[in-house]
Amino acid sequence: MHSNKRYLIELCTAAGLIVAPFILPHLGFAPNTVNRILVWGLFGVGFDILFGFTGLLSFGQSAFYGTGGFVAAWLLTRAGFPNVFIALVIGMVAAAAVGYLVGLIALRRTGIYFAMITVAIAEVFFFVEFNPLADFTGGENGLPGVPTPSFNLGFTTLHFTTGWSLYQFLAVCYFVGIVIALRIVRSPVGAVLSAIRDNPLRAQAVGHNIHGYKLTAFVIAAAYAGFAGGLLGVMQAFMPPDAFMFETSGQLVMQTAIGGTGTLFGPLLGAAIWLFLQDFLQSAVHLGAAWKLVLGLVFVILVVFLRKGIIGGIKDLYDLATGAKKKREATEADALADFKEPAGGNDIIAPHKRDSDRASGPILQATGLTKRYGGLMANSDIDFTVNHGELRGVIGPNGAGKSTFFKMLTCEIPPTSGTILFEGRDITGKSVTDACQLGLTKSYQVNQLFTNLTVRQNLVVAVLADLRGKFRLDMFRDPQSIPGLKEQVEQTLRLVRLTSRVDTKVSDLAYGEKRRLEIGLALATRPSLLLLDEPLAGMSPQERVETVKLLKSISKGRTMIVIDHDMDALFELAERVTVLQEGRVLVEGTPEEIKGNAAVQEAYLGGMHEEVH
């Protein structure tokens, strides 16, 4: 049944494109309008991969639209290049190359910085096109005389000219563009892109080189823009200079937001609404130049009230009507339900990064670890060694520097001084991604999950980092075909007891379930050393008992370090305990030794002796 549905979207798209010329004229769409919608739609497919799927809002897409368009148009009008289709492809490649270079700069920063830089880039390209490169681009005049495509098939020549004739060519281009985009968003790369959108920090921490993937999305968007830009010239028999204008970027953003992001088809719908309203307001209502004001207002209202655009709105309505999204009441009882199922025997032994069972001696050695924030010493001169297979506890009063210590061990922050050896290798100053790839990761004190993805998708993201390494461009691969992926996800699901919640969105999970998924994400990367930062934080007493059991089962054949405030739980779990106080190691020993240690008691009871004297 799954395979029947597999190409459903592709088939529907093809059917839609075939029947469009028979239906749309009756709705008042001129063939040229439909063609423009297709070009905007294709332009938007790439943009949606960048914005809707990866979460990067660029206001600079006109730069690539113009680059692709002018390279193709220049080849065809000035350079005497004969083949329209190959010229379009060259334009696309040029736009992608420019996108790569621009991406290197723009992606140095995220969030609003990224948006501002892309705005600046778009403006620069506009000026470059008008002035320094005016000899190539025709400046204000653009490049007239762009030919339409024809294909010599030997026995006959297909020539696409204007109107519905050209529509056939554009429709095929759009269809191929959609098919490729669908492949990309369903591929492992697509999964990582969504993870970056939801939580870049965690995507990095589970071992993905997010910079590389963001750059990939940026280049893909530039390539789509470049090809669409070329089509614009072909469609109008003229390459207009305003392709480079900032308004072009703005219109794309607005159309995509109106149609709906993260659907690939949103930009097409948005463009249809935009162009239809523009025609309608100008010719039927005689609004003249005020059409843009009306569209601006429509856009603002949509952003305020319909966050996911029109397609998102329709989807929500559909879900509401069919009751497909039965809002499951997430309760504590629910969260514990999975525990009542018997653990599946011995088949759920925790996975390993490397065959380190036989290894002995230290897996982690930190020497002289110090972290200074200005005048504040968060950690000073910590020596810390953990052996293979050990389960170490770390305790200390609030502000003792436990979390800072963990962040240094997992390479989230670099130490001010000191070194960290992991499996004999110096990892000081490495990135958190590299540390995870080497087999050292942590579960966070505050949940860091991919909240808009399902439980399964969350785990898939983590497992992909383990199976594919930190960066790989398998953009057309079906994730199902990756050997071991399914097993590893299932195994982790069983371990953290979330089997019955696989297809639930993380935002609909109960707190306890989220905590277990948090541990599951770390576990799914198959670490040989797992750090757990307060895994029991915020749990009810019953959940704590179950989670301690879970931690015990995870720890079989694995090295773990656990921070927690729950001393009873920690003393029950850990073989050895390290006590931190004021950024230093106070004492280290077995739980019994720690319980009886006077210095520890003093640290926790707060230096009462000093006042007594």
């Binding site: 914005f51 979460g55 809002l57 206001f59 700069i105 140095r108 920063r109 995220t110 969030g111 609003i112 910085y113 948006a115 501002m116 830089i117 705005v119 600046a120 880039i121 403006e123 620069v124 000026f127 470059v128 008008f130 002035n131 320094p132 900032f246 703005g250 953003v253 607005m254 937001a257 130049a289 005020a290 843009k292 004001l293 601006g296 207002l297 856009f299 603002v300 952003v303 305020v304 966050r307």
Partner: protein, 291 residues
Amino acid sequence: MINWANFVSQVFNGLALGALLALISSGLTIIYGTLGVLNLAHGAMFMLGGYAGYVAYSYTGSFLVAVLAGSLFVGLVGILMERVIIRHFYSRPHEDQLLVTFGLGIVFVELVRLAFGSQSQLVPAPAIFSGITSLGFMFYPTYRLAVVGIIAVALTALFLVLYRTRIGMIVRAGIEDSMMVDALGINVYRVFMIVFGIGAMAAGFAGIVNAPVVSLTPGIGDDILVQTFVVVVIGGVGSFPGAILGGLIAGEIISITSMINPGYAYVMLFAAMTLVLVLRPYGLLGTRGRE
């Protein structure tokens, strides 16, 4: 061969433009720093200031009234915008905030286009600043010199508000950590509203002060917005001194490059921004983590 008189006059032009950009960018950057919202309608605020001043001027004939009306009107628009729309976006993703302010910017521009048409409007310089001044070795339009002075006064006023008043202290604390300010029992929402008003007002003030230099069109704020972004990236987001330094740098780059070849002004500006991003990713005077 460089003509020195021409060069010096371009340096002055750069100073005037730089001062203007510094003021507009300060407005943008304190709003972003405090509220966490990047106002893409900030360029439209600049434009609105010019037109509001133009209307006031055509009724009263007084430039001073025009400046007051321009800045107060835009301050009011800012406050309304914050109360009615922006407020509901604090808890929404950055992208939504960008989209809604971008849309509002278009609405403002198109409203003005509807009311005043696309042709340019002129506000003459006040009589005392009209004509040209001899600087000994060259002549320079008096009003442009005055612009530098007027903006300097405005920036000083903004500085005093930010660094010498209670509200300024709260604003600067909010830039560092608005959650903490909230936790200290200060009504951050009221502060947010005031800051949005002050930030918008800075742009509006710049808009009317600039009106005698460059004639008004509905799209006048678009270029300014882009330049403001470059200024903020160069100077560092959330930094008031950074906005001033970045503004002056950007103004000089645009002016001096324009003297040689206007087509490269933006290219050079962008090159400077890239250089800063590579060497000091958080801006010349910015701090890590404000984004």
